[in-house]
Symmetry: C2
Subunit: 246 residues, 2 copies
């Protein structure tokens, strides 16, 4: 058996998230269906770096699978892309050692969250940005971001419905930048992320950006470890899993 690692982009708009759910169109289901077809109907399971929620996009999601087929690395991308629907695109495929695991070996993940910051909505970016009508104080948001950097128990930024016990994670990088006249992008790199963590951090930074809470308040929220103290979860469509490092 050969182990293949794939880097995949997908547009989350028309998926019920990454993970297989009975009767739903999900990214995992579409990829496994194509792989099973390539393996003459034999079930092929894939393991990804983690799941993404409905509406969340990926530019550099990673998954692996094992195969008895002998196909050159660059032929895997061609074969998969010719069979996959046009909202999934395999950017790279490579052979990896049998020890590699797409989920357990993650060192860092990067997410980006795009905010459309202007009074009017934009139809053509509605699936890829979250529209914020008010102006945002980017400097205040970056002050707040500084408090999130480093290793903390991030219970305050974890959705309530999770079984995960250890909520300590490390945030290596977090920036808020105005990248166009009408677009502000949040970039965050961490050792790993709790359920809906990036969206709750985004919601909290947004509240700082519109002066609903002060930048200083964010350190207190982290120390308190209480989800109720943080802000509302930002919508999924602005979020993209940008890349995974091993």
């Amino acid at each position: 058996m050969t182990k293949i690692k794939c880097t995949v982009a997908y547009d989350g708009t028309l998926f019920h998230g990454y993970q297989v759910q009975p009767g739903k169109r999900t990214v995992q289901r579409e990829i496994e269906a194509v792989l099973s077809r390539m393996h003459h109907g034999q079930l092929v399971k894939i393991a990804a770096s983690g799941r993404t929620d409905a509406g969340v996009h990926a530019f550099g999601q990673v998954f692996h699978f094992e195969t008895p087929l002998h196909i050159p690395e660059d032929r895997w991308t061609l074969a998969l892309n010719s069979l996959l629907p046009n909202d999934i695109y395999v950017r790279q495929a490579e052979e990896v050692s049998e020890q590699f695991h797409a989920r357990y070996d993650v060192k860092k993940k990067e997410y980006r969250y795009r905010l459309l910051t202007r009074p009017e909505p934009d139809l053509f970016r509605r699936a890829y940005t979250t529209h914020i009508k008010q102006p945002l104080d980017v400097d205040a948001m970056n002050l707040a971001a500084a408090a999130i950097l480093g290793t903390h128990d991030f219970s305050c930024f974890c959705a309530a419905n999770t079984d995960i016990k250890d909520k300590v994670r490390t945030i290596y990088y977090l920036s808020v930048r105005q990248e166009k006249d009408d677009e502000t992008v949040i970039r965050i790199v961490g050792s790993g992320f709790l359920y809906q963590m990036v969206r709750i951090i985004t919601g909290t930074l947004l509240d700082v950006g519109i002066y609903k809470i002060t930048p200083d308040r964010v350190a207190e929220i982290i120390d308190g470890r209480d989800r109720q103290a943080a802000s509302a979860t930002a919508p999924p469509q602005g979020l993209t899993l940008w890349g995974v490092t091993y």
Copy 2:
């Protein structure tokens, strides 16, 4: 009765074009349904500057309608947008004289066609660009564009299935510009456009850009007045009706 002129943007992806067709989701149908709802079920017809094909977008389509309601101009946009689906957005509404007609009074129309020019596709622009894998010779395309400028019988750039007899139109402006590392945009302004004219012009300019035909050839194609001599119709999703001048 008051006549209202509206400027509307729509994402053509999920529409079967602009014009009402039985049993299909079209832009006209959605807008008329909302207007009829606002008029307590009374049928309200709209007249647009022209139709757009399935998959074609609009940033500045214009339509008008007549109403017995007394609503301030800026309230029309709020009322319509609160009821319209999220792939249609009324950018402006204004009262006009009863002589105004959105179709018959058109002086100029501008279309833009976005080309994604790089080897790899981009999932996130697939609904708004046409992907061209080969490099394009933009200078050659602009040479060809110069031959299209001015007043001509454009039979060569008109889809065969049309009833229109007079195929003389004036092109005021036509440019091909690389606007990003991986995006080239064709802008065209004319007195009016025949059925699929912009997409056939785009297809012809693309053939110039990849050296399939020479820039000189385009003047001959126009003179010949034969649709078969021009190139294939470019796909709809790269095209946007940018604006209409009265």
